[in-house]
Symmetry: C2
Subunit: 229 residues, 2 copies
DNA sequence: ATTACCTAGTGCATACATTCACGAACTCCG
DNA sequence: CGGAGTTCGTGAATGTATGCACTAGGTAAT
């Protein structure tokens, strides 16, 4: 154990580490052993200085004049993200999305495995999805503690998302990924991230509309307010 | 149409407008007609000043001492986001996710409708998903132009995502929503947004790990999404 | 009308993020 | 060994976002 730099990583940089990680894994598969910030930047579609600064939060893992050793950097990012282990996750809601997620293999390849799926609907109980049997929502706490689960996924309709969040919190889960299009409130200290398809589409809608207004989605923000009509 | 303020909306604010919009729609359903920035902020789990500033980019639609009229504000946000119309979208890739999306009704309720689903795999062609028949990827251009589609969704495996993106661009699509966990490159002027489940989970993983290291996931840093209310 | 009381809108300070540009550190080659 | 060439790490400048705290503009009651 040489050292553990352990500065806190800024949110913005944190959001890019998984991207670099995926690229590095791909590079390893292509037998590439060294990579420069310039190359990484190209592959991640970002600025090279940003790559270097992002990586500098992890420690000093590059070699000047050379670049980064792919495997070593891969390991360091994984370690920093806590991906040395595979995290057990539970899914709340065994509907279309919940089942798709449970069946989805891509999740397992990136550091997670589904150890439980629960639903409130009796007709769903007992069904086998993604190798696990759907159990009743009341058993959530038991599942979470017996399998040491700390990450939960909400895949219920929006109107039940808060209820699902509450039960996850009660079960001792500290991090929640929310697919329901609603804001959930959780106690301080619980992390929530959301994935909201419609929200993203609506942002695209905005850009499409401004494009059609002749007010381009603007590269540099040329500020000259060309009023539409 | 009195006036159209038409300043360009900052990215950060833009990302919150769909949230306010959803809340406002819910309020209307609950027969609430007026709302203050304070209440909206509470419901959206953000700061009230932020709500006011975000809304100020649209124009001056509130009434001091009173608040905002729910229906009027709803209309203004919809108009700004281009949600007066329902946008036609095409889905590339009719696998698990593509089918789930095509079947998903939530998308229609929020301003979009699927007019085409294409796949490269012959065995998928002709299948009926979400009310439309899967057609061959080669027909993408024809579908896009005949239905005036400007938004495309990539739901192919990562290794085919660039190919899918290229075909969408060739078909004249200007905005792309990418579900494949890979960076796609597109010509200048084409908008891309991504939804990456594993990436979000990996961020949660980081926070779980730091939590266990005794170095708390820190309150204040809930900048973009991670609510710690 | 006047006063008391709200709440939107916003200027400003602060915080956070991005990018440039340059010195430091390493390799390679003659 | 020394100089040329490369690429990292980072200070400083710029750009963007947040949130406080105040002003402007509205309501309501007397
Ligand atoms: N289907 C998609 O393609 C898609 C895409 C993006 C987002 N979403 C969102 O994902 C969520 C789920 O979508 P879906 O299509 O799977 O819906 P669905 O109706 O098919 O499934 C929801 C499931 O959640 C269960 N449920 C409800 N309350 C529960 C509770 N408290 N505890 C446990 N289980 C509970 C229901 O019994 C049902 O089986 C929705 O919020 C939707 O907006 C879906
Ligand atoms: N399944 C999930 O729950 C889930 C969740 C999140 C993200 N994703 C991502 O979504 C993507 C799709 O996942 P999936 O589970 O649906 O995969 P899948 O293999 O079931 O489906 C992919 C489909 O895309 C088609 N395809 C491939 N190349 C194409 C092309 N050039 N043009 C048209 N069609 C093409 C294939 O024929 C196949 O039918 C993947 O990138 C995956 O990582 C999936």
């Amino acid at each position: 154990m040489s050292d553990t730099p352990r500065r806190r990583i800024p949110e913005a940089a944190l959001g890019r580490l998984p991207i670099y990680l995926r690229i590095l894994v791909d590079l390893t598969n292509d037998d590439v052993t060294q990579v420069s910030s310039e190359q990484l930047a190209e592959l991640a579609a970002v600025n090279a200085a940003k790559v270097r600064k992002d990586l500098s939060y992890l420690g000093t893992y590059g070699t000047r004049g050379v670049g980064y050793e792919v495997k070593f950097l891969t390991y360091q990012i994984q370690r920093e993200l806590g991906l040395n282990q595979s995290w057990p996750v539970v899914i709340v809601g065994a509907g279309n999305l919940g089942q798709a997620l449970a069946n989805f293999t891509g999740i397992a390849e990136r550091g997670f495995h589904v150890v439980g799926v629960v639903d409130k609907d009796e007709s769903k109980i007992g069904q086998l999805v993604g190798g696990v049997r759907v159990r009743h929502a009341d058993e959530l706490q038991q599942i979470a503690s017996s399998k040491a689960v700390s990450i939960g996924i909400i895949a219920t309709p929006a109107q039940h998302a808060q209820e699902a969040a509450d039960s996850l919190v009660r079960a001792g889960i500290g991090s929640i990924m929310n697919f329901a299009p609603t804001v959930i409130s959780v106690p301080r200290g619980v992390n929530v991230r959301k994935v909201d398809l419609a929200l993203e589409l609506q942002i695209l809608s905005y850009y499409e509309q401004t494009r059609n207004n002749g007010l381009r989605a603007v590269e540099t923000g040329d500020s000259s307010d060309s009023v539409s009509a």
